[in-house]
C-alpha cells in the first residue's frame, strides 16, 4: 500500500483507465440503471420546500419531548405534524401550510408551553407552488448552463471534449439523484443548489484532464509511436495525482460543512447542501477519470487521422516486436518521445 501511495505521489502510477474503458462503461451503465430504477421505484424524498408547508424551529428546553411538542402544536391547529430534533439544541416541527394568523398561534402556543419569548420560535411558510417554481428555474438554469458550457468548451477545446464533459456531467447528476432516491435523503432547494454546484466541479476536473490530453496529443505526429488512446491514458495517469489532489482539497471543506451542519445544526441548509456536494464530488471525481476521458477517446478514435495513427503504431509494434521485444515494451508505457508527458522536449524548444 505504501508503495502505491509513494508511486502516486511521484506520479509514476500507470493505470489503464482508457484501455479498460469497457469495464468503466459497464460499471457506469450499471450505476445509471440502478439510479434510474431507484428514481422510478422510490422517487425523491422531496422536502417541505417543494411540497409546501410550515416549519418551526425553536430551542430545546430541558424536559421537552417529541410527544409534548406534538401535542402543543396540535392543540394550536395544525394536523400533519412532524417533530424532529435539529442539531444539539433545537427542535424542528413541520406542518402543513399555514396562514399568518395560524403561524402566530403555533408560535405563541409553543413559546408559552416551553417558557420562551414568542420571537424565539422561528417560522417558515412555503407556498405549495413555490417548489415548482424553484425546480423549474433549476431546470432552466441547468439547460442554459449546459449550452453555455458546450459552447465554451467547444471554443476552448473542441466539440468532442465538450460532448464528453457534458455526458460525464449528466452521468454525475443521474447517479447523485439515484443515491438520493435509494437513501431517501431529503431533497430541499439547498440540495438542488448542491447538484448545480456539482456541475461546476465535475467540469473543473474534466477541464484539467482535457487540458493535459490536448497538450500531449497535439505533439502526436504521423511518426508518433503512440496511439491517441495511449497518449490520452498517459496524460490521464499523469494528471491522476493532480485530479485526486484537487478533488480531495475540494471535498475537504465540504466535508467540514457536512460535519458541522450535521452535528451542530442538524437539519437545514448547511447539511442538505454539503451532503449533495459530498456525494456529487465523489461521483464527479470518478466520472472525470473513468467516464469523460474514455468517451473522449472513443470519439477521437473514430477520426481517420487517429485511426491511421493507431494502424501505423500497431504495425510498427509488430515489426518491432519481431526485431526486439525490449524496445516495444519501453516505447509504449514510458512514452519516450512523442506523446510523452509534457516537458520532456521543452528544453530544446525554449
Amino acid at each position: 500500500m505504501a508503495g502505491v501511495i509513494s508511486r502516486l505521489y511521484r506520479g509514476d502510477i500507470d493505470i489503464d483507465f482508457v484501455g479498460k474503458r469497457k469495464i468503466w462503461y459497464g460499471l457506469s451503465a450499471a450505476l445509471l440503471l440502478l439510479s434510474i430504477v431507484g428514481l422510478i421505484v422510490n422517487g425523491l424524498n422531496l422536502g417541505v420546500e417543494f411540497r409546501g408547508g410550515s416549519v418551526f424551529d425553536f430551542p430545546r428546553t430541558t424536559g421537552s419531548s417529541v410527544e409534548q411538542i406534538r401535542d402543543t402544536v396540535g392543540a394550536a391547529g395544525p394536523h400533519q405534524i412532524i417533530v424532529q430534533q435539529a442539531g444539539q439544541n433545537s427542535w424542528r416541527v413541520t406542518t402543513e401550510s399555514l396562514d399568518g394568523a395560524e403561524v402566530t398561534k403555533v408560535q405563541q402556543a409553543v413559546a408559552e408551553r416551553f417558557g420562551m419569548p414568542d420571537k424565539e420560535v422561528s417560522s417558515q411558510v412555503i407556498g405549495a407552488t413555490w417548489g415548482g417554481e424553484v425546480s423549474q428555474k433549476a431546470w432552466i438554469g441547468l439547460a442554459v448552463f449546459m449550452i453555455a458550457i458546450m459552447l465554451y468548451l467547444s471554443v476552448a477545446f473542441e466539440w468532442r471534449m465538450a460532448l464528453a464533459a457534458i455526458v460525464a456531467l449528466l452521468h454525475d447528476l443521474v447517479i447523485t439523484a439515484g443515491i438520493y432516491a435509494w437513501s431517501r435523503f431529503e431533497v430541499t432547494p439547498a440540495t438542488m443548489l448542491g447538484f448545480l454546484t456539482i456541475l461546476g466541479y465535475s467540469l473543473y476536473d474534466a477541464v484539467v484532464v482535457f487540458d493535459m490530453i490536448k497538450e500531449v496529443t497535439s505533439k502526436l505526429g504521423t511518426s508518433a509511436k503512440m496511439t491517441y488512446t495511449q497518449a490520452a491514458n498517459n496524460a490521464l495517469s499523469h494528471t491522476l495525482i493532480r485530479s485526486l489532489n484537487t478533488s480531495l482539497v475540494a471535498i475537504l471543506p465540504v466535508a467540514a460543512i457536512l460535519f458541522v451542519g450535521t452535528t451542530l445544526l442538524g437539519a437545514g441548509t448547511l447539511k442538505d447542501l454539503s451532503l449533495a456536494l459530498f456525494v456529487g464530488m465523489i461521483v464527479g471525481t470518478y466520472s472525470s477519470l473513468c467516464v469523460a476521458t474514455p468517451i473522449l477517446v472513443t470519439l477521437k478514435e473514430r477520426e481517420p487521422q487517429w485511426q491511421a495513427l493507431a494502424r501505423r503504431v500497431a504495425a510498427r509494434q509488430t515489426s518491432a516486436a519481431k526485431a526486439a521485444a525490449r524496445d516495444a515494451k519501453e516505447a509504449v508505457p514510458a512514452g519516450s518521445q512523442n506523446g510523452a508527458v509534457p516537458g520532456s522536449d521543452k528544453r530544446k524548444k525554449r
Binding site: 465554451y152 432547494p189 473543473y204 475540494a250 451542530l264
Partner: protein
C-alpha cells in the same frame, strides 16, 4: 507572454501592487469604521417574505409591472414605519426583508393587490388642518402658475384666473408651477386649490382621442375665490352627498403622517377619504367611477405642438363610456368637484380637473410634467390596468438565536474547512504548501475586505448561502495552487535546469489550465446567479466572487511569491522539507541536476 527573464525580475513589483490593493481596501474599511460585514436576516434574525406576482388571470406579469409593484410595496412598507425593511427584486419575485420577527400583520398588508380606481373628488383640503398650512400652500400655486401649461394649453382660452388654464384633455392637477420637487408634487399642491385655495391652476380641456389639442375654451371655473381662514378644512365646501362619517374622518386624517393609507383596500362601492401620494392634500372621494382595469394603456410623451410633457390614457370600451359619463357629469361642477382622482393602492396619484366631457376612450393629462413625472404617472396608470396578485411563496422568520447559530455554524465550518486544507497542503507539499497556505490567507483577507466593503457601500448582506459559497470555494482556490505546484514538479522531474526556470515554464502552462477551469466555474456562477431563485443566487454570487479572487491571488501573489521562493536556497537546493526534494520527486533534485550538467 513575457519572456521568462523579464517576468522573473518582476515578482517584487507584482507583490507590491497586491499589497497596495490590500492596503487600499484596508484603508477604505478603516475610514468607514466598518470592520464587520452586515448580515442578512437569516443570520441577524428577521422576517423574509418572497412574493411571486401573478396577474389576475394567473399569467407571468411583465417586467415593468413588477418594478412598479416593488415601488408600491416599498411605499406600503414605509407607511408601516418599517424603515429598516428592504424590498428587492429577485428575478420575477419580490423579496421583502424586515428585521425583527412577529411581523405577520405587516405581511398581510404587503401582499395585498394594489388596484387603481378613478373617483370623483367631493372635497379636498391641504394635508393638515392647521390654518397655518394654508398660506404655505397658497404661494405655490399662484406663484408659478403660468408655466408650460399655459403655453401649451394655452391654446385657447386661458380663462383661469390665476393660472394657466390650459391643459388639454384631462388636465392634471399638475400644472402648477412646481415649486421644487417634481411636478407631480406640485400638482398635488394644486389639489389644494380645490380646497378653495387661491391659485387655480390646471386648466383642462378635453381632448379627444384624436389628440387634437382642440382648444375648447372651457370656461374653467376658476372661481375659486378666496381662501377661507377657518380651521375647518371643510369650511366653505359643499358637503352635500357625502356620508357624515367621512366628514369626521376627513377632519382627522393627517396626510403628512408616514402612514397615509398606502395599501388600504378601498371598496369601489363606497366613498372614501384618501391622501395624495406625496402627503400634501387630503380628499373625500366618491364611489369608483372607472376601474383601473378598464384602462387599456397609458404613455408619456410630448405634445407635438408645444413640446410639453403629457400622459395619454386609453380606455377599453366599457371604461371609455364610463369615463365619458363621469367627465360629462362633473366637468361643469365647481372645484374641487370637477376633479377626477386616480387612486392607486389607497393614495391619490393624480387628480386632474376635467375641463370638458371626454368621449372617445382616450384622454390626455397635461400639466407641469417633466419626462420623469410623466413617465411615472403613465407607469402608475398602466400598472392599474393590470394589477398584480402576490402569492406568498415563502415566509421565513428567523429568531436571532437561530440566526446566531447559523452564523456560528457557517463560521466554524469555514474555519474548520480552511484548517483541513492547510494541514493537507502542508503535509503533502511541505515547503510549497507554505506558499499555498500564504495564498489562501491572502485570498481570505481579500475576500473578507471585499465582502465588508460591499456590505457597507453596495447594500450587500452576508447570508448563509454566501458563507457556504465562500467555504466551498476554498477548494477552488486551493485547486489553482495544486495545478501550478504539480506543473512545477513535472518540470523538475523532467529535468528542468533550475527551479527558477521551472517556475516560469510551469506557470505558462498552469496559467492556461487555471483560466479555463476558472472560466467554467464562473460561467456556472453567472448562470446560477441570473436564473436561480432564493438562496441559490447568493451562493452563486459568492462562487463567482471567489473565482475572480482566485485569479487575482494566483496571478498577483502565488506566482510572484513562487518566483521569489525559487531564489531561496531552501527551495532551489531541494531541501528535504521543501516539497521538491530528490527522494520524493523520484528523480534527481534540481540542484543535483545543475551540478551534473555543470
Amino acid at each position: 507572454m513575457a519572456p521568462p527573464t523579464s517576468s522573473q525580475s518582476r515578482p517584487g513589483r507584482t507583490l507590491l501592487l497586491l499589497l497596495a490593493l490590500i492596503l487600499a481596501m484596508g484603508a477604505t474599511i478603516a475610514l468607514q469604521k466598518a470592520f464587520v460585514p452586515k448580515f442578512g436576516l437569516d443570520l441577524a434574525g428577521g422576517t423574509t417574505v418572497t412574493l411571486s406576482p401573478v396577474t389576475t388571470t394567473g399569467k407571468a406579469p411583465p417586467s415593468e409591472s413588477i418594478d412598479r409593484a416593488i415601488t408600491i410595496i416599498r411605499a406600503r412598507v414605509n407607511g408601516q414605519g418599517l424603515s429598516d425593511a428592504e424590498v428587492a427584486r429577485a428575478n420575477d419575485n419580490i423579496v421583502i426583508s424586515i428585521p425583527g420577527v412577529g411581523q405577520q400583520e405587516a405581511l398581510k398588508l404587503v401582499s395585498t393587490t394594489a388596484e387603481l380606481r378613478m373617483r370623483q373628488v367631493l372635497a379636498a383640503a391641504s394635508a393638515k388642518e392647521q390654518p397655518a398650512q394654508m398660506p404655505t400652500a397658497a404661494p405655490t400655486p399662484s406663484g408659478s402658475a403660468s408655466p408650460g401649461a399655459a403655453a401649451s394649453a394655452g391654446a385657447s382660452a386661458t380663462p383661469n384666473a390665476g393660472a394657466t388654464p390650459a391643459g388639454r384633455a384631462l388636465s392634471s392637477a399638475l400644472t402648477a408651477p412646481t415649486p421644487s420637487p417634481t411636478a407631480r408634487h406640485a400638482n398635488a399642491a394644486t389639489g389644494q386649490h380645490a380646497n378653495g385655495a387661491t391659485g387655480r391652476k390646471h386648466g383642462a380641456r378635453g381632448a379627444g382621442a384624436k389628440a387634437s389639442p382642440t382648444p375648447t375654451p372651457s370656461a374653467s371655473p376658476s372661481a375659486a375665490p378666496s381662501a377661507q381662514a377657518s380651521d375647518d378644512p371643510l369650511a366653505g365646501q359643499d358637503t352635500s352627498g357625502i356620508e357624515p362619517a367621512l366628514l369626521d374622518q376627513f377632519r382627522k386624517i393627517d396626510c403628512t403622517a408616514k402612514n397615509r393609507g398606502q395599501g388600504a383596500q378601498d371598496d369601489p362601492s363606497k366613498q372614501i377619504v384618501a391622501c395624495s401620494d406625496d402627503g400634501t392634500v387630503r380628499y373625500i372621494l366618491d364611489k369608483a367611477a372607472v376601474q383601473g382595469t378598464e384602462i387599456s394603456g397609458a404613455q408619456a410623451g410630448t405634445d407635438p405642438t408645444t413640446g410639453e410633457w403629457i400622459v395619454q390614457v386609453n380606455f377599453k370600451s366599457k371604461g371609455a363610456s364610463q369615463f365619458a359619463d363621469i367627465t360629462r357629469r362633473i366637468t361643469s361642477l365647481p372645484a374641487p368637484r370637477n376633479q377626477l382622482a386616480n387612486v392607486l393602492d389607497g393614495v391619490v396619484v393624480v387628480a386632474p380637473t376635467i375641463e370638458e366631457a371626454i368621449p372617445g376612450g382616450s384622454a390626455r393629462i397635461s400639466g407641469n410634467f417633466n419626462q420623469t413625472s410623466a413617465t411615472e404617472l403613465a407607469d402608475q396608470l398602466k400598472y392599474g390596468s393590470l394589477p398584480l396578485k402576490f402569492r406568498q411563496s415563502e415566509v421565513t422568520s428567523v429568531s436571532s438565536t437561530l440566526g446566531q447559530d447559523q452564523l456560528r455554524g457557517g463560521l466554524i465550518s469555514g474555519a474548520f474547512g480552511l484548517l483541513i486544507v492547510v494541514i493537507y497542503l502542508l503535509l503533502y507539499y511541505r515547503g510549497l504548501g507554505l506558499i499555498g497556505v500564504a495564498s489562501l490567507i491572502v485570498a481570505t483577507v481579500v475576500t473578507y475586505s471585499i465582502v465588508t466593503i460591499l456590505s457597507h457601500n453596495a447594500g450587500f448582506r452576508l447570508s448563509l448561502p454566501h458563507i457556504i459559497g465562500l467555504v466551498v470555494s476554498i477548494g477552488i482556490t486551493a485547486d489553482s495552487f495544486i495545478v501550478y505546484f504539480e506543473r512545477i514538479r513535472d518540470e523538475i522531474k523532467e529535468g528542468r535546469r533550475t527551479l527558477r526556470s521551472a517556475v516560469e515554464v510551469a506557470w505558462r502552462r498552469a496559467r492556461r489550465t487555471i483560466l479555463v477551469a476558472d472560466a467554467v466555474m464562473f460561467i456556472a456562477a453567472i448562470v446560477l446567479f441570473f436564473l436561480a431563485v432564493g438562496g441559490v443566487a447568493g451562493f452563486a454570487f459568492a462562487m463567482g466572487l471567489t473565482t475572480l479572487i482566485d485569479i487575482l491571488v494566483v496571478f498577483l501573489f502565488t506566482k510572484p511569491l513562487m518566483a521569489v521562493a525559487a531564489r531561496m536556497r531552501f527551495f532551489a537546493k531541494g531541501h528535504k522539507l521543501s516539497g521538491l526534494d530528490a527522494e520524493r520527486m523520484g528523480r534527481t533534485s534540481p540542484a543535483e541536476q545543475t551540478m551534473q550538467e555543470a
